[in-house]
Assembly symmetry: C2
Homo-oligomer: 335 residues x 2
Amino acid sequence: MSNPILVEVTRGGLVESRHRGAIVAIDGDGNTVFEMGDVEAAVFPRSACKAMQALPLIESGAADSYGFGNKELALACSSHNGEEAHVALAEHMLARAGKTVEALECGAHWSSQQPVLISQSRSFERPTALHNNCSGKHAGFVCACCHQDIDPAGYVNYDHPLQQTIRDVMEDLTGASLGQDNCGTDGCSIPSYAIPLKSLALGFARMGTGTGLAPIRAVASKRLFDACMAEPFYVAGTGRACTRLMQIDPGKIFCKTGAEGVFVAFLPHMGIAMAVKSDDGAGRAAEAIIAASLARFFEKHDRIYDALMAEADRPLRNWNGIHVGDVKVTDALRQ
Amino acid sequence: MSNPILVEVTRGGLVESRHRGAIVAIDGDGNTVFEMGDVEAAVFPRSACKAMQALPLIESGAADSYGFGNKELALACSSHNGEEAHVALAEHMLARAGKTVEALECGAHWSSQQPVLISQSRSFERPTALHNNCSGKHAGFVCACCHQDIDPAGYVNYDHPLQQTIRDVMEDLTGASLGQDNCGTDGCSIPSYAIPLKSLALGFARMGTGTGLAPIRAVASKRLFDACMAEPFYVAGTGRACTRLMQIDPGKIFCKTGAEGVFVAFLPHMGIAMAVKSDDGAGRAAEAIIAASLARFFEKHDRIYDALMAEADRPLRNWNGIHVGDVKVTDALRQ
C-alpha cells in the first residue's frame, strides 16, 4: 500500500515533484476525526515530541525551583535556530542548575537557517553545544536531573534514569510500547522511539485535553503547550514554520516539527491533536500538510483559515524573485 | 501507478523515510538497457542538462575564439559551489568576451554548501551573480552571444536567439518537442523544459556516443564530457556528489545533477547513458540511485564498483559523530 500524494511542487504549471504522506487527527478519547494514509505505521517523532520529553522538567519540580517561565519552558520544547536569544536562554537555564555548556551532550552545529548561520559565522569561530537546535531541551534535561540530585552525566543514554522516566511518560501518553526494539538514536544522541503515527497524535491530544492523565501530568502538559503558544519565537525562531503558525492567532494553535517530515499540532478550541509524516522526510511537505489540516478546523476564509492556507500553498520564487512554481497541497487535503 | 521505492533512510535498523523514483539506462541507438518506474513521465532536467545548453558555446566557435580549455568548459556545464576558483574562472570567461558580472542575468545567492557559505560570509557582505551556482553556464551563454555579435541582453528569455538555439539543440538530442506548453522557468531564470526521462537519457547517450548527431555536434559533445571528466572540481566542487563520482576513476564516468532530484550520467566504456528522477525531489535519493545504477556496469567488487556502492549506501552520523542510520538503495537497485 502506498500513502496518498498530499503535496505537489509545480513549475510552469506542471508538477515537478510529489510528496506522499499520512495524517491523522484525533481527540483525547482516541476518536479519529480524519485520517489519510497508513496512520498505524510507526514513525520516529524526532523533535516533534520534545514537549513530551520536557514533562519531567515540570513534574520533578525543577522548573518551579529554578524559576522558569514561559520562555524557558518554550525553549525546553524547541528546535531553535541558534539565534542569540536562544543561546543566551539555554545558558541561563544551565546556570540556574549551576551548570555550563560543558554539561550538554547534544553535540554542536551551525544554525540550519541561512541568515542566522551567516550572522553566527561572522561572530565566532565555531558553534558550541549551546547553538545546537536541541540545547533548550538538553538544558531542561540537565536541570531535571540536577534538581532531583541525579548525576546528569550520560543523560542521553537509554539506561540513564532520565531517559527511563521519559520512556514511561511517553508510554503513558501514547499507549505505545517503547523499548530497545523500536529505539533509534536521535541527532542529539538521545533515544528516539518509532511509534504509530496515530499513537503520537493521541499522546498530544491527551496532553492538550488532559484526558486520562494524572492531574500533575495534565497540568504540566497544559503549562508546556501554553508556554509554547505564548513564546513561539523560543520554539523555533525567525522564519520558521512552527513560529509562524503559532503566531497567526496566539493561543489558538500549538504545533511542533520534527526531522524527516514529522509535524504535530493541537487545537485547544477543538480538543483535537494531529500528527503528520511525509514518507520521504521532506519538511516542506510536512509543513504544507499540517497547515492545510489545521485549516479544516477554522471557518473557511476567516483570517486564521486564510493564513493557514497561505502556509499550505506557497509560491516558489527563483534567485531573481520570479514566481516559478508552487508548493501546494493536493485536493485530498482541501475542504 | 506509483514508482518503486528505490532508496530507504534507516534509523536504529528501522526505515524512517522512503524515496520513490524512476531510472532508465539507454544506449545511443535508443535501446533501453534497464528501466524502473515510469520513464515516459516528463521531468524538468533543471541543471542536469547544462552540458546540452553549453553546446552553442563550442559550436558557435566562441570557446575556441576565447581560448577556453577544459576548466572553462567544465564550468560552463557546472552547478558550482561558488568557491573562489569557480568565481574567478566565471569572471575570467566574461572578461574574455569583454564583459563583467553586470552581464549575468542569473541572480545572486550564497553557496548551498555550508563550509563555503561560512567562508563567503566572512569574506564579503553579500554574494554577486558570479557566486550563483549557474554563473559558469551563464558566462558561457554571454560568450556565445558576444562571439556571434548577438546582443546578450535578455539572453535568459524564451524568445532570445540563444534560447531558441538551445531549444533546437535539445530537441535534436532528445527527440522531445520543446515549447511554451512544457516550459517552466529555472532557478537562474532561463527556460527549463519538461521532457520524458527516457528522452533525457537518450540525449545524453547521443552526446556521449555521437550516434545520429551532425559531426560538429558529436565533436562538441565529446569535448564537453571530456572537459567535465578532466576537471570535476569545476563541475560542482568540494564535497559534492558530481565531483566525487567523476573523481573515482577519471574518464570512466560523466555525471551531472539537477535540482529536484534529477541526475544524469554517461559511461564511455559502455556507450550507455542514464537519467534519474526522485519523485519527491530529494537529492540524497537521486545521488544514491545514480551511484547504484552506475555500479551495475562495473565488475562486482572492483575498486570502482565499491566506490560507487559506497555512494549508494551512506552512513548517517549525528552531531556527535554516532552512526545513527543509513541512506541506502533498495534491493531493486542491487545486482
